[in-house]
Symmetry: D2
Subunit: 405 residues, 4 copies
């Protein structure tokens, strides 16, 4: 850990203790009172104001012009800490997905107009944004399957298609979408796609419904969005025509690291809850913590958390030193390993909590639902295993290809 990283780390921990954890019951109350799962509660704005005041703001942003310019190695432990209170902490410090990824994309590939109009208010925490990639009709982990059409018509593009799992689209502050589609369906496999910036209120954009995760309607929402003859100017394009796949690759690395670290933070909190419950709950004359099976679960959880954390840090280190492309296998590995680890730890914690564990009296069931989704979001585990396997197969036989007999 660098000195700078350590300083942020300590300050963020203090912020969690002093502001975030105490805000959790307030948050639950404000959400319950509103009767609206997508309500934007005041407590969150209060936390944002406080975080900004303390300089705990936009920590994710690697470009010194726009943020503190932390490395992935420096930011990873901070992302982990925010994972311990996932409903509040990431957004409180303006580091929630998919805004982080969108801000990076706008920084790297946006026009000056994009930066002025969208990036600045996003960095200020004034608006929110969504990323429209996945489609209901096709297996979207294979980018060549994307069907949303972006047809040029004079000085405009006309968008037609349907997206779902567009996270953040129900957020009360959401103003803009980054949309992946095809400008050239007959082009080379990885040059067919483009990305565009589409204001949410553009005519023809309809947020059809929210998708629940297990039974949870997440506040930020995961929307199904319909695009019908949506017209945007040429300037909506990020980078150039056909750059969509390239941008999505650039976007994914950091996003996966952030998710993985938050998974680890959730697992840590689940382990804390498991230990506390095991110590306080008595059955058949003994605290659960006396039982060897519960002790085994605690020990296994500690080991598994630590291994996943180290792998994530290694991926962060490689991204910082050799770049996202060369860290590809490690990024795929943590994309798989972190949620699977977290699910195991959370499931044990649920079991130790009895009925309370599956209810909302503890955050465990919602953690579980969230982590289970991560095994699918941005491609199911199996797609990422395939990537890793190909690398291994080529390590032993550089000429190997799946077609070969």
């Amino acid at each position: 850990m660098t000195e700078r990283g350590r300083d942020y780390h300590d300050r963020l921990l203090a912020f969690m203790d002093e502001h975030v954890y105490p805000a959790e019951p307030v948050y639950r109350e404000q959400m319950a009172e509103s009767g609206d799962p997508h309500h934007h509660p005041q407590v969150l704005e209060d936390l944002k104001a406080e975080a900004r005041k303390q300089g705990l703001w936009n920590l994710f942003h690697p470009h010194p012009e726009w943020g503190p310019g932390l490395t992935n190695m420096e930011y990873a432990p901070l992302a982990e800490i925010t994972g311990r209170s996932p409903d509040l902490a990431p957004e409180a410090i303006n580091c929630n997905a998919p805004d982080t990824g969108n801000m990076e994309v706008l920084t790297l590939f946006g026009t000056d107009e994009h930066k002025e109009k969208w990036l600045k208010p996003l960095l200020a925490g004034e608006i929110a944004s969504a990323f429209a990639m996945t489609e209901p009709a096709v297996a979207s982990s294979d980018a060549t399957n994307i069907e949303l059409r972006m047809e040029k018509d004079g000085d405009e593009y006309v968008l037609n298609g349907r997206k779902w799992w567009t996270s953040n689209a129900m957020h009360r502050n959401c103003k803009v979408l980054i949309v992946m589609g095809k400008t050239d369906p007959d082009g080379p496999k990885h040059r067919q796609q483009s990305m565009m910036v589409v204001p949410l209120d553009t005519p023809g954009v309809t947020v059809l419904r929210n998708l629940p995760v297990f039974g949870y309607a997440d506040r930020e929402g995961h929307a199904e969005v319909l695009f019908e003859d949506v017209r945007v100017p040429k300037s909506a394009l990020l980078a150039g025509e056909g750059d969509g796949f390239m941008i999505s690759q650039a976007r994914l690395g950091p996003g996966r690291i952030h998710h993985a670290m938050r998974s680890i933070g959730m697992a840590e909190r689940a382990l804390d809850l498991m230990v506390d419950r095991a110590q306080s709950r008595v059955t058949f004359g003994e605290p659960l913590a006396n039982r060897a099976n519960i002790q085994d679960w605690i020990a296994e959880s500690r080991i598994e958390i630590e291994m996943a954390r180290l792998l994530t840090l290694k991926a962060a280190y490689l991204m910082d030193t050799v770049g996202n492309q060369k860290a590809r296998v490690e990024i795929a590995a943590i994309k798989i390993a972190a949620p699977q680890m977290a699910l195991k730890v959370i499931d044990r914690a649920i079991q130790v909590h009895g009925g309370g564990g599956v209810s909302n009296d503890f955050p465990l069931a919602s953690f579980y639902a969230h982590q289970r989704t991560l095994r699918l979001a941005d491609g199911p585990d199996e797609v990422h295993k395939r990537t890793i396997a190909m690398t291994e197969l080529r390590r032993r036989d550089p000429d190997w290809s799946p077609k070969k007999r």
Copy 2:
């Protein structure tokens, strides 16, 4: 399978195809329209009327006086079928928990007044009932922990305490609770408890809130219920004072079989969904069903379902032939094995469905939530494993006891 069992089996399958599955979208629509998670939709009453007309009614009830008098072996495959559509089918044929267990208890231990006032309308599907056993403050799988007090005061008992996971208490038709409490907290360990019949509208009974399961507010509800100076007449007692533990034991065997069979039905439906999706979804140029990992999941699911089913049928057979007490190990075994198996199968099916799998566009996430809860309801797995281990330890050393060195 007996001829009678086969006949019910075929008729129930036809009823599922002709009435239940087609009612599923109607049900979802009526529930959504109502805006009330505990709404009692018309489609359910229509199904009940049809089922009753077809003689598919109260199939669970083993006493010929009150139902068809099927054996556990005959009923088990029917319970499995209803598990394929758990929101509708069990209630459609008046075989939903905890009404089934309550009806059995009232049949075996109720007074004539109980039977007239509660059993008959329950058997007629006119009212619903709940079972108040689990308490939030203690590990209720150990019955000696139960804290709800039932103090005699003249001709009455006065009940004070708090229950949760009181399933069915949010049901719009719920009229009556069977309550477990302690009449003699200082008596011998298994004679401290009594069970009483308590109308839901008795003064002092307050349904505080519903407990969600992984974000799902189940229609029938799992309530936290407060008992404050609730006065019931002596005649509220089921069997005698101190018989509560005995009754709970009698109640549990069949309940566990029914749950296990419905778990298997859910697993079968999850496997159907997994296979269908694997055949229809194409990635990287091939249907998922072509992939060896998906094929492995399908095969493993088939094997695991079949093994759990056979174990459940064995338990049913033993209950029919040597009685619930002697089938204790087998009942504990299926209580553990069936939900664990179902969770594995459902989880694979979710993975094959991608994002859709965790949403409500498929019933998989709600199946998962339901089955995960069964690993805790009526005692966590670990309590039942302990029972089985004790039997094994005594099989090899009849004198063995945990204290022994």
Copy 3:
């Protein structure tokens, strides 16, 4: 269980207690004294004589002309019992593989000469036999891969090829091989193969070496056998030319059931050993059996054993009632499930035994090696999962085939 089955069952249990278990240390001593892993010890002949005297002989043989004519359902529990002492019991009652399969094949497809010369002495326990199917150079679970050539030359066939895992070939009494090869390499896929009866001392047959299993050199041996210009008369043919695949299918069903039941017997013995050790071993002031993790292992083992047993009995029942072909999925299922279950149970038992568990002071490590091999013998698990998956895929879509898009 039929009355006849029950009678054999009780008598076999008595035979185990009175003769087999007491013979185990004698066996170990005689083997150790000989210094030869393939030694045929006297104690085995003594057991065979006793078993034959008691009418516990050839119990496997389903054809009343040649054996007691037990059904699979009747024989399965007997095979399980012999699995508890796998080095002695199966051979003591003349029911050891691959002799059992060979005797069935000779009964069904052998000529009168084959029966006189080989079947009779096999049934009398005077000689042993081996089955040469698997080849080192190819994945033999795909029968079309078989490379051993059987070329017609006048009145003879000339065999050339190499086999391995030819079990029993090191047996001191082994006199004959049943060999699978190709008479028509260009014929239709499942008509290329033939089976022939080849005396072990035929010129050109060379037993090259024994293959150890883990570090164990099994007494009966698993040999690599070379066939160089081996000439056999036309009458060596079992059934007709091109019937090899058909015969191998007929052979496999019963063999798999027998293996599965013996796996279950081994698992039962491992569980007994685990329980005994847990009760007698004290660490940190308590017997291991007091620990909740060990209790969990015991309970899980009991559940898993029982489920595998029931699945195997179902397969046996189906073989008896609808035939091996229709029981195909169930036979594949137990082929996979029984050894996997046994490995889990045995592994837990090893862990409870500490260092002793991996040594030869207990039979656990050798059980493990044996069961691990069964996940590969006669086709790896993955091949059998494929079979099951195909059936499931066609259950939902009768036209489905792997090629289909």
Copy 4:
């Protein structure tokens, strides 16, 4: 990696490629020819000479006076490399257990006489040594259970007791034992034990037998050793009377790191073998490497290896920076995690190899046997999980103790 570490790393890799791997078939041949599982083959002495010439010698030894003085972080990757050829590489560079641990103990706690007589020839690779700790009659992971008596009698100690799993005792060069016993059975729990240096040829020391591991008689052997009235002078004592437990703790940390790294090396080699086989073996018209289930195994193996490696390196780093005592949890964690990971990877590799995988044509089955033993050697997993759980329980509640209610 330091520059020095990198240099050793590259040179060791070259040594493996140029000398060790080519020596493997020679080793197998010389061992087979000898007919003696404990034969000391010439090829090993040749490798030792070469390694010594190249300065690849005693790399483990952290004390610059006696070895290169590498840190744990520097040595760990070297130990991993030797794990790829476990029969040859560790001994070739004079870094095989238990000699390494014994050399450390003699360095730290030996008298000048011990160093002259035993340490120097050990460091020169001229003799071998064994460590006699585990006893057959008691659970030796609890050091208070140790029963071997060391009674003072004038100027001598008289040793009586029985040890087993005394690794290296069958080594043809083994000359000396370090023996753990009790000098003060009634003293405080961790002051009862002492350690002594006992020449193997001392009267009263009898090597009774070798213990096989899954059928394998390891060359170095794991012996049962009887001590009957064995007389050693007072100067046999390492450190002081009652220091035995302290010495064993000092010994264990590095030993566990070395074992863990070699486990990782074995897993790497198993993965290489798995990949190579998957690419070369064709079934049903495709190389196994085309199959998604095999690809999953490869990817999971890569992920699991990497996580275990990072955890081991972290433990090494902590040992170097904060000391073995403070790295206690991490050392316990890798003691559990590394062999479990290796077993999973090796088991998958076995499955991909078919029958060959369980034979000795590949090193996989022997790797498996070796790694399975590591889950028991030096305390079963469960003892180490307990250590970790206690730390976690105290992290949340510093006053927590197992007795507490």
